[in-house]
């Protein structure tokens, strides 16, 4: 909590340094993101990929794996979803939409199976492989969006639109799509599975003490593969939702660092998929709010990255043992100082 307060203060100072009144800036953020139905729709749209990504990352972290590749998996899922939507052009929505979303799952899972396989057979740290694949997937998407699938009229890295039958149903006016209805059960389901099932217990055991879990008969290699591939598939689903819900096509600006944000959210939520729900929502509020700050104060969209990082760094600092001791000492000092002053007054 204290970390959050510090973060808000530091961010207020940052805003002031940029020439914005922090109070109006904060209220602009809140009113833009939550003050209207259209704003709320935008916020929920941003929450969806963040929530899917963060619960996927948190899920893999529980088993002891770091998936930094959500960005790449979003692109992989979006690529396969778009491809399938092109291929099945003309099919009715009832069939097409589920198939396209499934294609997203498969795309993300396929990309994540590379680090999973390398980890399982060669023990290679998945962290580095997932990051490298982010770039591979991004360039593949750029190739498709400028080459074979390109929209010749657009003149930029953007494909022709997919069939309207593959669009996600709208939930709210202002473009709010139904993706959030997929993301919420995923986050809750992952947490329930981890907490309530036998395999979920094995999963957590593998993450907290692999040696003991291994001796206890847990198949560690299989858990690693499941953790990474499932996380990748959820990232891919987020990509398919971005395509079918927001853009109706594949383009290169699909993820403004959602993947890195997802890791931060998972860390803040202490690796609990269900706890990523409020954190992802808060991050989405920041993103949408910062978009409106861009119009009023002239902040670049990436400034929101800075604000999020400040929040995470402050909270990380105050979560450590020494950080907490530091806070305790500060609190004591502030409590003691008025007493001392009074004593001095008497003397």
């Amino acid at each position: 909590m204290l970390g959050l307060v510090v973060a808000l203060v530091v961010n207020a100072l940052l805003l002031a340094a940029l020439g914005a009144n922090p109070v109006t800036a904060y209220s602009t953020i809140l009113s833009a993101a939550l003050g209207s139905v259209a704003g709320l729709a935008q916020t929920l749209n941003r929450t969806t990929p963040l929530l899917l990504g963060a619960s996927a990352v948190a899920f893999a972290m529980r088993a002891g794996y770091v998936n930094l590749g959500i960005d790449g998996q979003i692109y992989a899922g979006a690529i396969l979803a778009t491809g399938v939507a092109f291929l099945l052009d003309g099919w009715p929505a009832v069939v097409l939409l589920p198939v396209v979303l499934l294609a997203g799952l498969v795309g993300g899972g396929l990309l994540a199976s590379i680090p999973a396989w390398l980890r399982a057979t060669r023990g290679i740290n998945e962290l580095f492989v997932t990051v490298m694949l982010n770039f591979v997937a991004l360039f593949l998407a750029e190739y498709l969006a400028t080459g074979p699938w390109t929209d010749p009229v657009a003149g930029e890295a953007i494909t022709v639109p997919i069939s309207a039958a593959a669009d996600l149903p709208r939930l709210l006016p202002g473009g709010g799509h139904a993706g959030i209805l997929l993301a919420l059960p995923v986050a809750v389901g992952l947490s329930l599975w981890l907490a309530r099932t036998r395999s979920g217990f094995e999963f957590r055991a593998a993450g907290s003490n692999p040696l003991a879990a291994g001796f206890g008969g847990v198949r560690l290699v299989r858990i690693g593969v499941v953790a990474l591939v499932v996380a990748g598939a959820l990232g891919g689903l987020a990509g398919a939702i971005e395509v079918t819900g927001v853009h109706s096509r594949l383009l290169t600006g699909l993820t403004p660092n959602f993947g890195y944000m997802a890791v931060l959210i998972a860390v803040l939520a202490r690796r609990s998929p269900v706890a990523t729900i409020p954190v992802a929502f808060a991050f989405a509020v920041l993103i949408v709010g910062a978009d409106s700050l861009q119009r009023s104060v002239g902040l670049p969209p990436s400034a929101v990255l800075l604000f999020q990082a400040v929040v995470v760094v402050s909270i990380l600092a105050f979560e450590t043992a020494r950080g907490r001791r530091l806070v305790a000492r500060l609190v004591q000092a502030t409590r003691r100082s008025p007493g001392r002053r009074r004593a001095g007054g008497v003397a």
Binding site: I114, Y143, T320, L326
Partner: protein, 317 residues
């Protein structure tokens, strides 16, 4: 036949050296950090901040010799600033290096973009500061083929590539280097010997971050002449891979930097001469190569034993 000649084209080998410079600088910086047990995942963000800082200083103050030096110093300082936060959180507060590194990575990406927007504002065409002039070494640059490859660069490239020598010398030929490497293997032993553990770690951290920041300033000052948010485009991550590829040794890291830079230079060469391969596939090559290299090297690579492990003097192990 033409295809084979292209592979050793003088201009391409020249580009290789240019591209290798920031990779090498950033990788040597990361090496210093990892040798004292710090895995710095924020490297990509630090490179970005260095790039933005380097650009902004020259953009504001003009391109003269002192301002360019100032820009490089400012780039180093800005990366050190992030490094100090990293060090305070991981060394003093003993927070998890990976999560702190990722948070600071995001911080760096946001800060660099904000800095650029704050200084330059919103423009339709991105401003250019021009790249540093080439310094043709008299005499040597006249050598037919080698002269073009080796002796027609700007000063940044010459100095940047030769950073290898002092880093190698200090790490592997001096008592200080032995102590630094010992910190990464066993901080407990270093502490028990009464050596200044904190000072060793912090000095390696500051020096390493300075190199990473300087590597960032190379992009606007020497390679591009402008700035964009994706200017580093994963080079920081590649530098991180290079440290593994080089098995935590300066000379092998340098060889790796040349190899990666060569692969990157291929895209410039074939992007021009051949239309058969889409450029995006050529741009994928370094990252695919990094994964392949990881597969080949990983089992044999020996990371510093204390890498990412927090050290608490009061703990028993």
């Amino acid at each position: 036949m033409d295809f084979l000649l292209d592979l050793v084209d003088a201009d391409m080998l020249r580009t290789t050296l240019v591209v290798a410079t920031p990779l090498l600088l950033a990788a040597l910086g990361e090496l210093l950090l990892e040798r004292v047990g710090l895995l710095n995942l924020a490297i990509e963000g630090m490179v970005g901040v260095g790039a933005a800082m380097g650009f902004c200083v020259v953009f504001v103050a003009g391109r003269t010799v002192p301002t360019v030096l100032l820009a490089i110093a400012a780039a180093a300082l800005s990366a050190i600033l992030i490094g100090v936060v990293f060090g305070w959180l991981t060394l003093h507060l003993q927070a998890n290096q990976i999560t702190v590194g990722l948070a600071l990575l995001i911080l760096g990406l946001g800060a660099s973009s904000l800095l650029y927007r704050g200084v330059v504002g919103v423009t339709t065409t991105p401003p250019s500061i021009g790249t540093l002039p080439l310094w043709r070494i008299p005499g040597l640059s006249e050598i037919p083929y080698l002269g073009r490859v080796l002796f027609q660069h700007d000063l940044f490239v010459y100095v940047g590539l030769s950073t290898l020598l002092p880093v190698w010398w200090v790490l592997h030929r001096t008592p200080l280097g032995l102590r630094l490497r010992a910190v990464g293997e066993s901080p407990k032993a270093v502490d028990a010997l009464g050596l200044p553990l904190a000072r060793l770690r912090w000095s390696a951290l500051v020096a390493g971050c300075a190199l990473i920041g300087i590597a960032g300033s190379f992009f606007p000052l020497s390679l591009v002449g402008g700035y964009s948010d994706d200017i580093a485009s994963g080079r920081g991550w590649l530098a991180l891979m290079l440290v593994i590829f080089g098995r935590w040794r300066p000379w092998t890291i340098a060889a790796g930097a040349l190899l990666f830079a060569y692969v990157e230079a291929l895209q410039f060469q074939f992007g021009v001469t051949s239309k058969a391969i889409p450029p995006q596939f050529l741009r994928m090559l370094p990252y695919v190569l990094a994964i392949i290299v990881l597969v080949r090297v990983y089992g044999r690579a020996q990371a510093p034993a204390a890498l990412t492990k927090p050290y608490d003097r009061e703990s028993r192990f």
